[in-house]
């Protein structure tokens, strides 16, 4: 065995192979040092083998931890997952001694909740399954494991409640997963992109989440979940636009306040999309829309600005986008410097230098802040993009253009389907015990 393995892994220094012999028997052992926990190996194999209180072949045969391998093709993949291969009595066994390096911090970081559960998924698939099974102790919960990616061989798990799931959606998802033939897959986002196929999507049609409570709720609604080994995020599908605008806190807090916050979120989406375009079209086409005071003060503060309104808008938006982008990537220590330099110094100075008007600074910051209100990151990204075509339309056609642009967006949103389920569906059937929210159109 060792010779064969050595030819398979030609240049791997961390491949350890050993031939051992005790009083009764001789075995061959192979494992990849860097993937395995040495103490586990010595505890399970080396120590019992050398002490030989009990015949080692019996231990191997009866312990469930040692799994027999029948095919030679499985050798490489088992070794690469951190298994130890054992050759004993002309039989092959594998033993799981893998060592996973992962972040131990299990607090939610992306979707924090004030009074909801604070635990997040981890990068280990098993822990993730544990968290979800604990929250959804139903025998109907089906778990299917696969690997994705030709080289990366990422392990994923597909979870669903087989009593509540919509078969069409499930079949659709499975088909799409089979079609994936990417080389490397590491994150939930990549898998989502592969699931989308060739279509270039603007809006996310899946929900990437780190919250086990959200996942278990979705399973109860009959949705399909994909968990990825090595990623802290799970994928929920199919979803609606409404799901993306929803936070878990909406379900944990009192009715009226959470509804008000939801309305506020939708208003802020509208603002972040239309405000720059509306600024251009009102300032340059229809200033009579403002109150007189505002018109005069904008005219006054703009009189120092040498460029037309749309250049002013583009300059400011470019600056704020840079600021947002920089503060995402910067290490935490420099992060505050970035915002100080960008926000205070640039904003103030740009206005004093007469590059932008003071109203424009307000517009820009409202646009940025209302964009941050959107609870889902990938939706926030999509919506961040939406304002630019509108700006373009506003420059050429004024308010009419903005209205037509908004209409186009609505048409586009309504045409999207998330795995066969209408995406922009506002009406939501309340999830009852044995029913899921899966769209009346496709399931009928």
């Amino acid at each position: 065995m060792i010779n064969r393995i050595l030819t398979m892994f030609a240049d791997s220094k961390d491949l350890i192979t050993k031939r051992m012999k005790n009083d009764d028997i001789s075995i061959e052992v192979a494992y990849i040092d860097s993937l395995c926990d040495e103490s586990k190996i010595s505890e399970a194999i080396f120590v019992p083998f050398s002490r030989n209180f009990k015949p080692f072949e019996e231990i191997v045969e009866f312990s469930s931890e040692f799994k027999p391998i029948h095919e030679m093709t499985e050798w490489a993949s088992s070794l690469l997952r951190g298994y130890v291969l054992i050759y004993i009595n002309s039989k092959y066994y594998s033993y799981d001694a893998s060592r996973n390096i992962r972040i131990e911090n299990q607090n939610t970081q992306v979707e924090s909740s004030i009074q909801g559960p604070q635990i997040a998924l981890t990068e280990d698939l098993k822990d993730g399954l544990n968290l979800i099974r604990n929250r959804y102790p139903e025998p109907n919960l089906a778990v299917e494991e696969r690997t994705l990616g030709v080289s990366s061989k990422t392990r994923i798990a597909i979870l669903f409640d087989n009593r509540r799931v919509n078969d069409k959606v499930l079949k659709n998802v499975k088909k799409k997963i089979l079609e994936i033939n990417a080389d490397m897959l590491h994150s939930a986002g990549e898998i989502v992109r592969e699931l989308g196929g060739n279509r270039k999507q603007l809006f996310p049609t899946t929900l990437i989440t780190e919250r086990p409570d959200r996942i278990s709720n979705s399973i109860a609604q009959g949705k399909v979940i994909i968990l990825i080994h090595g990623s802290m995020f799970g994928i929920i599908l199919p979803i609606t636009f409404y799901d993306l605008m929803n936070t878990m806190d909406d379900q944990y807090e009192s009715f009226w306040m959470s509804r008000t916050l939801m309305v506020m979120r939708y208003i802020s989406v509208l603002m972040t999309v239309t405000l720059p375009a509306m600024y251009i079209s009102i300032v340059s086409y229809n200033p009579e829309l403002f109150r007189v005071q505002l018109a005069f003060s904008i005219a006054g503060s703009r009189s120092a600005v040498p460029y037309p309104s749309f250049i002013e808008v583009l300059v400011m938006l470019f600056m704020i986008e840079m600021l947002v982008e920089a503060s995402v990537r910067l290490p935490r220590y420099i992060g505050s410097t970035g915002t100080t330099v960008g926000g205070l110094i640039l904003g103030q100075a740009a206005q004093q230098a007469g590059l932008v008007s003071s109203i424009m600074i307000i517009v820009t910051s409202v646009v940025a802040i209302s964009n941050f209100v959107i609870p889902n990151n990938s939706l926030a990204f999509a919506i961040r993009f939406l304002k630019y075509p509108l700006i373009f339309l506003a420059v050429f056609y004024g308010i009419t253009g903005v209205c037509i642009g908004m209409f186009c967006y609505l048409v586009y949103l309504s045409s999207i389907r998330s795995f066969g389920v209408p995406y922009f569906r506002i009406h939501r059937k309340p999830a009852r015990n044995a029913e899921g929210d899966l769209g009346q159109v496709s399931s009928s």
Partner: protein, 366 residues
Amino acid sequence: MRHLIFTVLFVFIASLVLGGCGFKDIDKRFFVVATGIDHSDNPNKPFRVTLRLAVTSPKIEPGAGKSQLETIDAKTIAEGVRELKAYVDKELDFGHCKIFMIGEKLARKEMDQAINWMTRRRDIQMIANVTIGHPTAEAILKIQPKNERYPGNTLFLSFGKEGTDSSYTVTEYIFGMRKRRTEKGIDPVLPIIMPENETYRISQAGVLNKKKLIIILSPEETQLYNQITNKYLKSSLGGNVEQDPYVLAVGRIQSRFKIKNNAQGKPVVEMRIKIHGLLEEAPKLVFDKDWASIEQELAKQYSKSVVRLLKKFQRQGVDPIGFGLKYRATHYSGGDKSWQEWQGIYPNIEFDVQTRVTIEGTGLIK
């Protein structure tokens, strides 16, 4: 798919031309805050157009509202405005012009052209106020009130709903003016602005027939006119009962009228007015007096003054309340016949005004 993309792209590019020259930044526009149109005594150039242009500033402080005045004599108003463009460095914008003032002289002569221009021009909003300037619109526009925070503010607040709501101020919008000028049976009423120590006094109204200014009402008559045409109007009602002066602060006033034939078969306008209010001025110990008699006495005096005002309108052949319109609506007899009937009826019609005053309190806790 590709075909569709090209079609969409083509339509988009082709429609780029449609935008035209509408794009003009707000700081490249000169906002007109008030427009005055006068008669210039020059037969070749009969119109004198005066524009009050706002000089904008980023700071809004009391007294900081500066404005620039431009005057020109022209053959027509539109020509005058076009010519004025050559005098200023930015595009004139009437979008925020809320006050259109017609000089008294022009109003007495002929104001057809002025109203026509206002209703046709694209950027003039139909909700702008039409007024009459006394003695001339130019003289009124020259006044720059000292406490203005931004140019034109004083006039805007006087006519708008958010500033003062004086019961002596009549307001009329362009659309209303147009309606009253074209509709048979109702005549326009315009407020008259008069200069007074660097500020304005807007306490009188002028009644017009379809063509020109006919009568100027006194402030008391203006208030009376306002009271019988509005519902919730903070106003006052005064009168003497047994030599004691009483003033009632009117909280709600409601009036309705019908046109009927009376017992003798003569047409009569029956007007019923209901007034609710608190006493603002009254003799001492009014609480213990009999309110009913005070109410009746005040009502009688009020009715009398209303009849006097209505008779005045009747004598001049104008109808600002809209009796004719009501008659046409309720006595339809085919085509234009009811209107012709009314023209025969109105000069001799009688007025029967009855008022019910309710005193809700004395304004004091006993």
